[in-house]
Amino acid sequence: MERIVTGMSITEVLETMRGNEGYYVTNTARDLSQSDFKNRILLHTELLAAPAREKANYFSLEITGGASVHVDILRKQVDPFLKLELLRDKMPNTMFQTLCRGVNLFGYRPYPQNVIRLTVREFAKYVDVWRVFDFMNHIPNMLAVFEEVQKAGKILEPCICFSTGPEHTDDFYVNKVGEILDVTGDEILLCIKNHGGLGTPKRIGQLVAAIKDRYPDIVIHYHGHNTDGNDVGRISAAVRNGAKVIDAADHSFTGYYGPPPILSVIHDLREEGFEPVGLDDSAIIETSEILRNEREHYEYFESQFKGFSPTVQIHKLPGGAMGSSFEQAVKGDFLDKMPEILHDELPKVQKELGNYWSVTPGSQILWTTAVNNVLGGDRYGNPTGDLKNLLLGKYGPFPFYQPPDWIYEKVFGPDWKKILEEEGGLDDIEDIDIEKERAGLAKRLGYEPTEQQLVTYLQHPNDAVEFFKFEEKFGKVYVLPPSIFLRRGGFKLGETLQFKDHNGKEHVIEIGPKQKSEDGEWKVYLNVDHHEREYSFKEVVQGSVAQEAQLSKEEVEDLARVGDVRAPFKANVCEISVEAGQEVRIGDRLAMVEAMKMQTPVDSVVNGKIEKIFAELGQALKVGDKMIKIKVDEG
């Protein structure tokens, strides 16, 4: 048997692969593009492509994991489990693949063991192949996921994250593979995760050969990005040196970000004498024809940064972070600083912080630190909570060397050694009471959540609740094509929208007039299945909020010294650590806020007693918004 289909065990998969001359392809739809664009591809579009993708006979379709669970609920308003269920209907034979961030799961920071196990168990019902990585290549961070995946009888694919630099030798990586095999046994696929698309084809070929040399039977899956435009070269080198599975994407959805076109890889390797096992070229072309028609609807979300970016070899920021970094630069008005940040500061920061792997969430820490260093002027003078955690070893030990002392001193003050000694190292994250979480969710929703809802909630509590409420209000919106869901500038008067709902019922909505009524409300009229409907909207008065003077950083700090704790920057409240009436000391954590995937603690700068808590869990705060009032101790 050549083809690999759902239901095959890891043993059968490995035997089939080893027994074939050719190589296998994973369609990396999830990682198609790493900019904001990727985060937008709607389930509607994936469903359109599903039949052709099924026909193409891939080894697997990577369709979940990474940030996708979060963006499913945050930006696409689709249930990550429903997505898999619906795709499975249309793709019964193709294995589904996920990317799991080890202890960080599908989020940005470590989860308790029992949450990890529950999450893997639920997703394993739909996901056949589990690619697991840790951005510090710290194997213990992945153990719980390894165990659960193997327990569920699914295919485990541990990663070694790849980067370049003097420390990143073949020996280092081959030893890492050994560390993995020690805990997983031989029945795995091994992934080389080259998320930045770093190194030359030659370098990748050498690495594959070195691993194969030590472990001749190992089946290697190469994952790379085409950021510099040369991943076809690296893939080719990997396969020629013995890699059995490679990642590529549907060509009409590729660009500088993401993996290279599947078809280009096939053409290249065919000349070299390697055939993709079972792959149907015409179905690959058909998929891209379907997707090409959809791409225009995502235009708004394509990166501002056009063209390939060979300088990735300098700044090492993976494709995804590249796109969003430019978006942030535009929004934050520091586009002119980008060359300095990317090509001077970022390589410097990387070296200073131990030359670890620039992948989530480590890449965000590097990026944010570099931005703060350049914009703030005072290098490491404005550390984020996540940078502190990194330095304290909360994500795992530094792989090659510890950052220099002066950075520790800058971040933690003169007592840094004591702090590092007392607080440093991986935390044992205690199991949480899942039943208590379930009850809490039920209370927030007003009904008993399903197991899947609970799992989604445990990944991203506030966003999950928002999503469930959204779904209650607006229904299953994946049925709306991107031309509707992502429409900008409103619809045209008289425009007719047609779609089938979740139950398969066909509907027609005609856009009617939009008018301001006498009482100042806006009315939108729609003709819904030939019934006129009216929708009222209250106008948000522009300006009144914007004109409010925002507090400066100094003012926020001054207020904090008198017990009036304000939001330090625009952020969401992700934890309130105190209760009214509680005594707090200087340095005690009051709350955690989150902005741009980064959590930052808000600590008390006074001794006193909590008088009142204004901030609410999940609240979006503006700079200077009241959070907590502390009655400061006299004297």
Binding site: Q77, V477, L486, F491, L526, D529, E532
Partner: protein, 480 residues
């Protein structure tokens, strides 16, 4: 000269009457108060007279209405329902001024309007009645009388205002202590509402069906009935849904009730159109309740199943014509259901939605649908009157067909602006107990889930809401 008829009412019933007047080739005159400046009945009438600023007080002002009729040279006045319809003083004033009052004589109204007198007349005629008392004597004596009744017949009992009607002036009492406490309250209320503090007692028939019979009688005493109606679906004694004919399986019993109704009308020397109301208990015993001496809201269902235009007949009878048909000519065919589409929010305790503008109005049509209403797109519902917007009556050959048609029409009815009872009826029409046709006056109480609907309920409506929002915001803020 062309006859002229003044319609002393507003809203849907005014329009209903005006249509009949105009069909007869007569001139229809509307009256109105200031809040009704934009009302449709003024537009459809041939002439209109402003009564005053109201609200309500001018529609209730006998002197002003009579003056208006005289001013326009009206021959007759149709009072509709509510307002002055069952006020004997108004009928009397018409009689005294030489205006034809389209309805029974002031004397009959007066007798039947006094519930105790009515009970006496019916008792004499041998009409079955719920056990009850005469008017309670004043003070302690009356209380003693009431307590004795309670002891004999058991609780619960009803304390009723003699001058009440239409579900008003009724209090249910569960035990003796409550009875003692509430007699005074009931009297005070009756005094305030009807200017008459007489009250009497009736035993409560638990969870009865409300069955009534439409009567027509000419001046010569020929009295026919137009079959039965079931009005059991009520909320706090206010009817919501009316059905013709009654769905009681035992048709012989229904025939008997109709015959009894004719006897009751005759005993009261009834003239013109009226309704004899009965309660039917679990054991299928029936009891006379009262005679309503006016055209009723729900007359449409009887018209649909008999083909007889009751309002037209009313006018002709009042003009001195005899009934042109006999009982045997009255054939009941099929079924009719009327729902009262009110501007109310069922989910907010049926709170009136007055003061709101109807921004979209699209009514259903097609076979077997009849609408008696007065709203139009752009109409602002005045705050001073009742909340009935439209009566939708559907007709069908079988009960199931009629229910199906009602469902279709409700689903196709679009009224935006005020909330209405339509979604509530949509729940009702899908309720198996309603569909079975076997229900009594406890129906609404025992089916609280009828108000549990999501107005934007269906999947497409939810999606449409998002589309409206994307359109309004110029982008999807849930995809930012």
């Amino acid at each position: 000269m062309k006859k002229k008829i003044l319609v002393a009412n507003r809203g849907e019933i005014a329009i209903r009457i005006i249509r009949a007047v105009q069909e007869l080739g007569y001139t229809a005159v509307a009256v109105y108060e200031t809040p009704d400046n934009d009302a449709l009945h003024i537009r459809v009438a041939d002439e209109a007279v402003w009564l005053g600023d109201g609200p309500r007080s001018d529609y209730l002002n006998i002197e002003k209405v009579i003056k208006a009729a005289r001013k326009v040279g009206a021959d007759a006045i149709h009072p509709g329902y509510g307002f002055l319809a069952e006020n004997p003083d108004f009928a009397k004033a018409c009689e005294d001024t030489g205006l034809i009052f389209i309805g029974p004589s002031s004397e009959v109204i007066s007798q039947l309007g006094d519930k105790v007198t009515a009970r006496r007349i019916m008792a004499e005629a041998g009409i079955p009645m719920v056990p009850g008392t005469q008017n309670l004597k004043a003070g302690g004596e009356g209380v003693a009388e009431a307590v004795a009744f309670g002891a004999e017949y058991g609780y619960p009992i009803m304390l009723k205002a003699t001058a009440g009607g239409g579900g008003r002036g009724i209090r249910r009492v569960e035990n003796e202590a409550q009875l003692r406490a509430e007699i005074h309250v009931a009297r005070a209320e009756a005094k305030a509402a009807f200017n008459n503090d007489n009250v009497y007692i009736e035993k409560v028939v638990l969870t009865p069906k409300h069955v009534e019979v439409q009567i027509l009688a000419d001046a010569k005493g020929k009295t026919v009935h137009l079959g039965s109606r079931d009005c059991s679906i009520q909320r706090r004694n206010q009817k919501l849904v009316e059905i013709a004919p009654s769905l009681i399986k035992d048709r012989k019993l229904v025939d008997e009730i109709c015959a009894t109704a004719v006897r009751a009308a005759k005993a009261a020397n009834y003239f013109n159109a009226g309704t004899v109301e009965f309660l039917v208990d679990k054991e299928m015993n029936y009891y006379f309740m009262e005679i309503n001496t006016r055209i009723q809201v729900e007359h449409t269902v009887s018209e649909m199943v008999t083909g007889i235009d009751i309002v037209r007949t009313q006018i002709k009878l009042a003009m001195g014509k005899d009934l042109a048909f006999d009982q045997k000519d009255v054939q009941i065919r099929g079924f009719a259901i009327e729902v009262r589409v009110n501007a109310e929010d069922p989910q907010n305790n049926f709170m009136p939605e007055a003061g709101k503008k109807v921004t979209v109005y699209r009514s259903p049509g097609g076979y077997g649908v009849r609408l008696d209403g007065f709203v139009y797109q752009g109409y602002t519902i005045p705050e001073d009157y009742d909340s009935l917007l439209v009566k939708m009556t559907v007709f069908g050959f079988s009960w199931n067909e009629t229910v199906d048609r009602l469902r279709r029409c409700l689903a196709n009815y679009v009224i935006t602006g005020p909330k209405t009872t339509i979604p509530f009826y949509l729940k009702l029409v899908n309720d198996p107990d309603f569909q079975s046709g076997d229900f009594d006056t406890s129906f609404i109480e025992t089916h609280p889930e009828l108000i549990e609907y999501d107005e934007q309920g269906s999947e497409v409506n939810k999606l449409a809401r998002l589309i409206a929002e994307i359109h309004y915001e110029q982008q999807n803020k849930y995809a930012i």
